[in-house]
């Protein structure tokens, strides 16, 4: 097996106000280099929190979490985050900056040379299927929802991070655009060979995009499987997700 790049070891996260019910508890998970992990769960299952622990937008309350072999608490927060790409449903492009300025922000903060920044901008824009020359000077408000999300992904990839965290990246898109971007995501994931942790509540998206699916319920990992084996899982929450997806498929027929 390849190297472990992220390792959760009995991780717990709780907000001090409600110690009775931690948001995450007993979470252990090894994520290998180049995997695409789909964190699947209902709203409030703790999947987004798990993601935010990795780049320390939240700080775990007990246990151990290693990123690239080093405890997240020992990482300099800023250094850690600049090595990890982050994509969210709302995209969060800066409205006062052009597409190029948005995408090139982290490389610029990292003091790359202008030539290297421009070259990288063109590279990542091609990766996400947007013409860099045509869109460089546009502002986010001039983009469609799908284009915004593509630019968001380009921005996350700009500094060539080894890890990419994605929180329901396609959740706000219309079904056609979503399917389109999911297909492109698959091609992209193969090409860039990054470790990707993707949060979703859509079982079909998890099975389509993940090389491994991790199922969360009420702050605990209840199952881990390959997409192929997922339908054989017996845990009640897994059966519920499978039933829900079949209900949608059945209705379609």
């Amino acid at each position: 097996m390849t190297d472990i790049i992220i390792e959760f070891n009995d991780v717990e996260y709780q907000v001090s106000a409600t110690p009775a019910r931690p948001i995450l508890s007993g979470v252990s998970l090894q994520i290998h280099q180049g995997e695409t992990i789909a964190l699947l769960g209902r709203s409030g299952s703790g999947k987004t929190t798990m993601l935010k622990l990795i780049n320390r937008l939240r700080c775990l309350t007990s246990g151990k979490l290693l990123v690239e072999g080093q405890d997240v608490r020992d990482w300099d927060r800023i250094r850690l985050r600049r090595r990890i790409g982050y994509v969210i449903q709302e995209v969060g492009l800066f409205p006062h900056l052009t597409v190029q300025e948005n995408v090139s922000l982290v490389p610029a903060l990292e003091n790359w040379s202008p030539a290297r920044i421009n070259q990288r901008f063109a590279e990542v824009m091609h990766l996400v299927g947007i013409d860099p020359a045509e869109y460089a000077a546009r502002y986010p408000r001039e983009l469609s929802g799908g284009q915004k999300q593509r630019v968001g992904v380009a921005r996350a990839l700009a500094a060539d991070p080894a890890i990419l965290l994605m929180d329901e990246p396609f959740g706000a898109l219309d079904p056609v655009t979503r399917a389109e971007l999911q297909q492109e995501f698959l091609a992209l994931a193969r090409r860039v060979s990054k470790t990707i942790v993707l949060v979703t509540h859509d079982v079909r998206e998890a099975l389509l995009l993940g090389t491994r699916v991790v199922l969360l319920d009420a702050g605990r990992i209840v199952a881990e499987s390959t997409p192929l084996e997922f339908r054989q899982l017996q845990q009640p929450i897994a059966r519920q997700f499978i039933a829900a997806s079949e209900l949608v498929a059945g209705a379609a027929q």
Binding site: L57, I78, Y86, I88, G92, V106
Partner: protein
């Protein structure tokens, strides 16, 4: 004597008072902006100090302007008769809209944008100067615009403590029961306020990002 006649015979005096008035406004506004905007920026991640500062600024605003000028006179250093005291009072008045709009503008940022900025590894100062401030510019300017219009009006009262300006005519006109003399102060003051409102409004629209 009608208004036009008074204007014609007192042009130099009126222009002079207008200059004094403008000086009062510009100096006071410069100081108020220099205090209000950095203070608002410093309070961005300190919600409790922020509401305390806003309360204090609010209290200054509730004191009737004539009373505030009067109350300042006996104070050492900042008090006395004349322009310095007037500037202090005008700054206290202008502070609230500037501080309030700075605080609101800097904190009313789409949470997704702030989360993205943080997750990209921007430091707190980088987020403040490169994200919050540019996105708050037009809101801050709107505060400066409101404050300027208020200051131009309140500055007429500064004549009561010997600071000069267009208020001189208004007070004189009241004493003489002469509409013409009152209007000689009131009309230029109103025009100044309209002009400042218009120009700052233009600037505000220019700098709006979204």
């Amino acid at each position: 004597m009608n208004v036009l006649q008074f204007f014609a015979t007192h042009v130099d005096e009126i222009l002079n008072a207008t200059r004094e008035h403008l000086a009062l406004v510009v100096i006071s506004m410069a100081i108020a902006v220099a205090i209000g905007v950095p203070l608002g920026m410093a309070l961005v991640s300190r919600p409790r100090s922020r509401s305390a500062a806003l309360t204090v600024a609010n209290i200054f605003q509730t004191i009737p302007s004539l009373a505030l000028f009067g109350l300042l006179i006996p104070l050492p250093l900042i008090g006395g008769i004349g322009m310095r005291t007037a500037v202090v009072a005008l700054v206290l008045y202008a502070l609230l809209p500037i501080l309030r709009n700075t605080c609101v503008g800097l904190s009313n940022i789409d949470p997704a944008i702030l989360e993205a900025a943080e997750a990209m590894g921007m430091t707190e100062p980088q987020i403040l100067f490169r994200v919050r401030l540019p996105l708050a510019t037009s809101v801050i300017l709107a505060g400066i615009r409101t404050a300027t219009v208020i200051t131009i009006g309140v500055a007429t009262i500064a004549a009561a403590i010997g600071a000069g300006g267009l208020g001189t005519f208004i007070f004189r006109g009241v004493a003489m029961v002469s509409d013409a003399v009152i209007l000689a102060g009131a009309i230029p003051a109103a025009l100044l306020a309209l002009l400042a409102d218009f120009l700052l409004g233009l600037l505000e629209r220019r700098l709006r990002v979204i």
